[in-house]
């Protein structure tokens, strides 16, 4: 029983210990304001990482998410600033385009039996390219609604607040947990990641599920793009470069196996917080180069992957003999 949640427990322990260490060094760390900022700063990453978790659970990968975020911000800026669209219609259009883009990649992967790595790599180039076609410059978004949405927040005593992006992320994470464990779609994802052929022989609609999971990942990348544009107040085709790797890192640190079939959405969320924690610590310290973030995350990633491998070996070997009749 404990085995299954061990990667999750270890990740959580790292987060708690890390947080306590930071708080011990900088007393100001343990405040609602810091936590609130951490959530806001990482909101777009978190939303994207949820989609990535689903894709990886199903045995795939989606390298296009960063590019889709960048493209979405440009699309929004162009529609609102140059096309005169109301932001809400622009949001709807952006979500539809991003979701459709993901669905198309999923369809290619399923119909032509192509490796997801290649297809989404191509998708990444296409999405970045399309962003540049729309505009090569950073376009500021000045619509009043943007300012309003930017101010929207749940405020707490002591200066802490949960901004709209943070709230959106928390909502997405909660919905994703329900989706993963209490819906047939969720069960089908795990099935697909476990063994595609077996899933098919058990009646899982493999094609539909594949298309749906990439569509979902695209959609969430689109939502992350909206959040990113709210956060930065601009649209830029080079925005969010490398985000696909940051999200994959969060997923892996969160205990999800890259080969699919094992893992938890909540683990990804914790993985994301660990990354955010390291970043915040380095900002607090002030003397460390921001590259230390990368190094710390790199080391952490390595350790977690070793841990997973070890656990899996123990567990698929003679790790615990279940009660059998």
């Amino acid at each position: 029983m404990i085995h299954r949640f061990l990667p999750l427990l270890v990740t959580s322990a790292v987060l708690v210990v890390g947080f306590l260490l930071c708080a011990a060094q900088f007393p100001a760390f343990a405040s609602l304001r810091v936590v609130g900022n951490l959530l806001t700063d990482n909101a777009f990453l978190g939303i994207t990482a949820v989609g990535m978790t689903f894709v990886i659970l199903s045995g795939g990968i989606d390298l296009s998410v960063g590019a889709v975020i960048g493209f979405t911000t440009v699309l929004l800026a162009v529609l609102i600033e140059q096309g005169g669209w109301h932001p809400v219609s622009a949001f709807a259009a952006a979500l539809a385009v991003a979701g459709g883009f993901g669905a198309a990649m999923g369809a290619v992967i399923h119909v032509f039996q192509m490796p997801p790595f290649i297809v989404t790599l191509a998708g990444m180039f296409v999405a970045r390219g399309l962003g540049f076609v729309l505009s090569t410059d950073s376009i500021p978004i000045n619509h009043p609604l943007y300012a309003e949405l930017g101010d929207l927040a749940l405020r707490f005593d002591g200066g802490g607040k949960l901004t709209l992006p943070a709230l959106l992320m928390l909502g997405v994470v909660a919905a994703a947990v329900v989706c993963a464990h209490w819906t047939r779609f969720g069960a089908n994802l795990y099935a697909l990641g476990g063994n595609r052929q077996s899933a098919e022989l058990m009646g899982v609609p493999v094609g539909r599920t594949t298309v749906a999971v990439y569509a979902l990942s695209g959609l969430l990348a689109g939502l992350a793009g909206i959040v990113f544009s709210l956060y930065t107040g601009a649209g830029y085709s080079l925005a969010a470069t490398g985000v696909e790797l940051d999200t994959i890192t969060a997923v892996v640190i969160g205990g999800t196996q890259l080969t699919g079939g094992y893992g938890y959405v909540i683990g990804t969320f914790i993985g994301l917080l660990i990354q955010g924690l390291i970043q915040t610590y380095i900002t607090f310290d002030g003397s460390l180069s921001s590259w230390w973030t990368k190094i710390a995350i790199g080391v952490l990633l390595f350790v977690f992957i070793l841990l997973q491998k070890g656990l899996l070996a123990v567990w698929t070997g003679r790790g615990g003999t279940p009660a059998e009749a």
Binding site: A191, S198, L201, M202, P322
Partner: protein, 520 residues
């Protein structure tokens, strides 16, 4: 659940003229197959006969090329497993078809989870799923943690979960494709009890197995396939085992050949010390423990239906699979065979059945293929000089009459028979003391066939010991001094001297299983 009303007139499931081809292989050719209400119907045939393909074409895993399928008089054409399941056809496919990463309960209910707040957009009722999962497993005597990942349980338990899932979905038809392969006797008994209960409820059961005892213990009717064609359908009670085996093998028993090799004095022969001797040698889920002794200059044949454990026996002897019980001795000295390298060091050679996959290296020349095993034994750090390689290759090309323009010809350009001879040469070059041949004459023309048999006889006259697996009974009879007959992964008989004859082999394959006394 619908209540199937048994009507004598209309069959439950009727397959007519079903055909299915894969790139170049006609896996099914106009097959008819009928399942009635409340019967257990054995679908039999050797490996590759098309049983699994018939099942998969029926349930929508494959799309058929031609033919019709009716279920209770209505034409059906499921386009996928899901649709077949909705038609109340539950199937356990031959491949392990469950998910090790999901819990037992999730495996049992994948795709049909109990829901709350509406079927379509509701949520999975995990509590109800756990409770129902426990209930579903009760008839099988399994009480386990249904929330644990399935991969943590033994293969047998996983197999039972797969069966329980299919049974739970099969309100009309249950199809089991070799479900008993990894079950022990007690688990098989439980499965049979469940199958009988379902039969009494009017469900039609299709049962694929290699175990003839199971067929006669359980099944009402038998359909036999061979090479993708229907051989016939019989009532079990009216089909003696011998006739069944003849149907599966496709051979007329009257034409049984008798041995050509002169009988030898058994007592004198048996007094000679064996080159290799195995006692109680076996491997769980592969071959039951067996005793086997082979003397220098002796050919021992391994006969049995495909899948009866012949190749597995050969692989154990060569150390390709590791035995988990019993002992082996060479020249009276106990040895351990931990891999082919050990076997090669002891002077064993092995020509595998599938020479394309395990034998020849197509792009290399005939010479390179021939010296491969010798070079491997010497170690790659001590290359055999080119001159010597050429000598060896030329000698064997002459000796075995390998038809090739020259020794440098890529081996893939040779005919099957000549490839087989080159493969044989590879092992002969190592001067083995025991040579194992798995289907040495498969897929080669008649002329080469005779030559290989002559060669086998000559080798054994030179004092080499041979262990030969073959489906060609006449051939085995022609060169073997002794024949070990296998059935259901067990050595069931050893024929020697005058006993070596095709009809005796067929009779042994078809015999009821009675524990055989291992010979001293």
């Amino acid at each position: 659940m619908t209540d199937p009303t048994p009507t004598a007139s209309s069959p439950l499931l009727a397959v007519r003229g079903l055909s299915k081809a894969f790139l170049g292989v006609q896996a099914l050719d106009g097959v008819d197959f009928t399942v009635r209400h409340g019967e257990i119907h054995a679908l039999l045939g050797e490996n590759g006969a098309g049983k699994s393909t018939l099942i998969k074409t029926l349930t929508g895993v494959y799309q058929r090329d031609a033919g019709t399928v009716t279920l209770e008089g209505r034409t059906i054409a499921p386009r996928g497993v899901e649709e077949a399941q909705r038609l109340h056809i539950g199937t356990v496919y031959q491949e392990v078809n469950l998910l090790p990463n999901l819990s037992v309960a999730e495996n049992l209910f994948l795709g049909r989870q109990p829901m709350r707040f509406g079927m379509r957009f509701g949520l999975v009722d995990r509590g109800a799923m756990r409770r129902r999962a426990r209930a579903v497993l009760i008839p099988y005597g399994l009480t386990l943690d249904v929330t644990a990942p399935l991969g943590r349980f033994s293969v047998a338990t996983q197999q039972i979960v797969a069966i329980a899932r299919a049974v739970d979905m099969s309100a009309k038809v249950l199809i089991l494709d070799e479900p008993t392969a990894s079950l022990d006797a007690q688990e098989v008994a439980v499965l049979f009890k469940v199958m009988r209960t379902l039969r009494s409820r009017g469900i039609g059961i299709v049962f694929v197995t290699h175990f003839l005892d199971q067929v006669y213990a359980l099944c009402d009717r038998i359909t036999v396939l061979r090479n993708g064609r229907l051989v016939g359908e019989r009532r079990t009670a009216e089909l003696p085992r011998l006739d069944l085996v003849a149907m599966m093998l496709g051979r007329e028993l009257e034409a049984a050949a008798h041995r050509i090799a002169p009988p030898v004095d058994d007592a004198e022969e048996d007094a000679r010390p064996p080159l290799v001797r195995f006692r109680g040698y076996g491997k769980a889920r592969s071959v039951e423990p067996f005793d086997l002794a082979i003397r220098p200059g002796e050919v021992v044949g391994l006969a049995g239906l495909l899948g009866s454990g012949r190749t597995e026996t050969a692989r154990l002897v060569f150390g390709m699979d590791r035995a988990d019980r019993g002992e082996a001795a060479v020249d009276g000295q106990a040895v351990r065979l931990r891999g082919p390298r050990d076997a090669i060091r002891l002077g064993f050679g092995f020509c595998p059945e599938d020479r394309k996959k395990e034998g020849i290296v197509g792009a290399l020349s005939v010479r390179e293929n021939i010296i491969l095993a010798l070079q491997a034994r010497q170690g790659w750090l001590r290359p055999i000089p080119r001159r010597r390689q050429e000598e060896i290759a030329d000698r064997f090309i002459r000796l075995l009459d390998i038809r090739t323009p020259h020794a440098e010809q890529p081996i893939q350009l040779l005919s099957g028979g000549n490839q087989q001879k080159a493969l044989l040469a590879r092992w002969l070059a190592t001067e083995p003391r025991l040579l194992i041949l798995d289907e040495p004459t498969r897929g080669i023309d008649v002329g080469a066939h005779a030559e290989i048999i002559r060669l086998i006889e000559r080798l054994c006259a030179d004092g080499m010991a041979l262990l030969v697996v073959s489906s060609e009974l006449e051939e085995i009879v022609a060169y073997s001094r002794r024949v070990v007959v296998l059935r259901d992964r067990r050595h069931v008989a050893e024929l020697r001297g005058g006993e070596v004859a095709v009809d005796r082999i067929v009779a042994a394959i078809a015999s009821e299983s009675v524990p055989v006394e291992p010979r001293p």
